[in-house]
Amino acid sequence: MTMHIEAHGERSIRVTRRFAAPRALVYRAHIEPELVKRWLGTTRMDWTRCEIDARPGGRFRYEWSRPGMVMGMGGTFIALDPPRRIVHTESFDEDWTDGEVTVTTTFHAEGPDRTRLEMVIDYASAATRDRVLAGPMKDGMAEGYDVLDEVLPLLG
């Protein structure tokens, strides 16, 4: 199923994705470490740490690594309303978004086995949001993406 990324309000983006599963299950897959480790991240790196204290004020910490590189992120839960909504702050260790963002993930039931997930990410400023959105979406940027595919193999 397709993932949509769009601008939302002044300084947020909204990611929308549908899943063929009941929302209670999609919700659980977001807060249980054994489930989160099965899907979140990148195939180019392995999980090295996944800790989730899913209660208001509780922290979470994710780390992935591959030879020569560690990627980490973490944050704090602000509100949990199972199976409807999770609000948390987060930041990546190598930060490019001018600090912490607030993420509101909403799970909408669209039938017994259909869930629409909406993830709204609030950035520190409209300027940061625009730069994040600009990445893969603007015309010149899309071409930039193509050229990376062409040029990177040549770099060896």
């Binding site: 999609v26 897959a29 899907w39 190598e94 490019w96 990445g135 893969p136 010149g140 040029v151």
Partner: protein, 111 residues
């Protein structure tokens, strides 16, 4: 997630012109002078020089100083950082959600 947004903007804006992309591909094969870079294109030498300058300012190309022989060479790091950035957001989430589809299907079979 290493590069700053400003550096990424400079990289992508430099990549937005077809001739500049062609020049980068030529330089990926090795150092070259402006004359050598001009050869395959129906474009004047001053035009190629202008585009090289844009690539230099974005940090994608470095020009060696060896008297009158001043070949340009590709500086790969910004390209790698741009690639990492793209991987890290859109791909991060779309690949993750694809795996979540599989996990959810598996969990439902178990019910």
């Amino acid at each position: 997630m290493v590069a700053t947004p400003d550096a990424l903007t400079a990289t992508f804006s430099a990549l937005s012109h077809p001739l500049r992309r062609a020049l980068l591909e030529q330089l990926a094969e090795g150092k070259a002078t402006v004359q050598e870079l001009c050869a395959p294109h129906a474009v004047s030498q001053p035009a190629v020089s202008r585009h090289l300058k844009v690539l230099e300012q974005a940090g994608l190309v470095q020009r060696d100083q060896q008297g009158t022989y001043r070949p340009s060479r590709l500086e790969a790091e910004p390209l790698k950082e741009a690639a990492e950035w793209l991987v890290s957001f859109r791909r991060f989430w779309s690949e993750s959600y694809d795996r979540l589809d599989e996990l959810l299907a598996e969990l439902q079979e178990d019910r």
